[in-house]
Amino acid sequence: MSVPLLQLTDINVCYADQPILQNVTLSISEKEIVTLIGPNGAGKTTLVRVVLGLLNPTSGTRQMRDGVTIGYMPQKVSVEPTLPLSVKHFLRLAKKEKATDISKVLQQVGIAHLVNQPVYGLSGGEMQRVLLARALLQKPNLLVLDEPVQGVDITGQRELYKLIAALRSELGCGVLMVSHDLHLVMAATDKVVCLNKHVCCSGHPEHVTNDPAYIALFGEQESEFAVYAHHHDHTHSTDGAVIHND
């Protein structure tokens, strides 16, 4: 197997003697989608900050393969209403952009029609796509997505995950994403890492859902919640146009 894009080995992070992360080992390879799940306070965001190089771990090593560029999609970006900023302008703040790049990535994430819209006032799903576009402008070989579907409704979530999986095949980049809900991400994930300060279990999603450590952390969700489903005879594209199912 080739050298992973990023390899974290025995990462420990402590704040004021409180362990936040303990002996976390994690690797992300090319074209691999790794999903990080865990309860609140499990250290997911801390681990993402270590991956991004924003936080130096108390101990442990972080090795990034030469020539790897990270595209980062933060959990939430709220632009002040006092700042007049169009989507195009927001994307222009990414360092390596060109005008053609901007229209290309907007097409890739399916929001070409929003190019001149003000960022303030976009819906949750639209904003997430704009952030994804900004990450893509870095021409990344590693995408780091911190809760990419936050504030997006269930249908939108499914579409975003589908988009991320499609982008992975199209660009051939590795993807690390943080998620609350394993069930929606499952289809789009190669490896799941279940985190609760330390790595509880990791592996293929189906394997993980049957792991006692996962069940202890999340319970057997299927028995408590059922997802209500009904059949739609059409879907909508991101600009709201109706697409009929044939």
Partner: protein
């Protein structure tokens, strides 16, 4: 011994001198309005109004120390503002005090300390009202030189660093991942604000400087469709406020600093009341 000129009463001067005063006042005011525009936008976007106010209040301490230690006053003010900003960053580590409380403590204790030191220097006459509320008509050629050389430096830096400054204003972590030196940029912004305060202090006074930063910027919001246009509008509206304020001051013999601020406030109300929809 240092004597600082008491405000000349305009009406008693011969006409040519008076026009000279007015021209200098206008040049100084316009220069400051142009610099204050883009930086005022950053103050508004980053919600730093109270921070700017605190720096401005500490400027009086800078003046007092500058006179005491015989340091050039603009430089003394800049150094004092930077030290205060660093002190603030250090004290912010202490999570037991909220930032706005901290700013309040620093603003008023530095202002008071400045006033106390000034009163202790009994061999020096200082135009305190001028420093507190500004004295546009006491501007001399050295002040103009400071405003324009400092102004060119500030505007040059803002233009050069516009994109990284805007980027850290929107999301610091994202900017950091994209390779922007966030801490340096934050320091640069603080330094730029300190410089504006140092050169603007004599014109509108330490108590009114923040208004020149935030009122034109807030007024510009409704008229602008992009951050750059908002900065330019803010400069333009600031210039208009300066001219209206000086005119008011000239015709009705009102204090110049407050007159400029009143004009800026009236422009804000006028634009807010305009029956037009914000496009962005």
């Amino acid at each position: 011994m240092l004597i600082i000129m008491i405000t000349p009463i305009v009406q008693m001067e011969p006409l040519s001198t008076m026009i000279e005063f007015l021209v200098r006042a206008c040049l100084a005011g316009l220069g400051i309005a142009v610099i204050a525009g883009p930086l005022g936008c950053f103050v508004v976007w980053r919600r730093m109004a109270y921070f700017g106010d605190t720096l401005a209040h500490s400027a009086l301490l800078g003046i007092a120390l500058g006179i005491m230690l015989e340091v050039q006053l603009n430089i003394a003010v800049i150094i004092c503002c930077i030290l205060l900003a660093l002190l603030l960053v250090t004290l912010q580590q202490n999570r037991n005090i909220a930032t706005d409380t901290l700013l309040g403590i620093l603003a008023h204790s530095t202002l008071s300390l400045g006033l106390v030191i000034v009163s202790l220097m009994d061999n020096i006459r200082i135009d305190l009202m001028g420093y507190l509320f500004g004295d546009l008509l006491a501007v001399n050629n050295v002040d103009l030189l400071w405003i324009y050389s400092g102004g060119i430096l500030v505007i040059g830096l803002v233009c050069w660093l516009w994109r990284p400054l805007l980027s850290i204003t929107i999301h610091e972590e994202l900017a950091r991942v994209e390779g922007i030196p966030v801490n340096t940029m934050r320091m640069v912004l603080m330094l730029l604000i300190a410089m504006v305060i140092a050169v603007a202090m004599k014109i509108v006074g330490v108590l009114l400087i923040t208004s020149l930063l935030i009122i034109p910027a807030a007024t510009a919001r409704k008229l602008a469709a992009s951050p750059e246009k908002m900065a330019i509008w803010a400069s333009g509206l600031g210039c208009l406020a300066v001219i209206l304020g000086i005119a008011l001051s000239y015709y009705y013999n009102t204090p110049t600093g407050p007159s400029v601020v009143v004009a800026a406030g009236l422009l804000f109300i006028l634009v807010t009341a305009l029956p037009m929809k914000r496009s962005y």
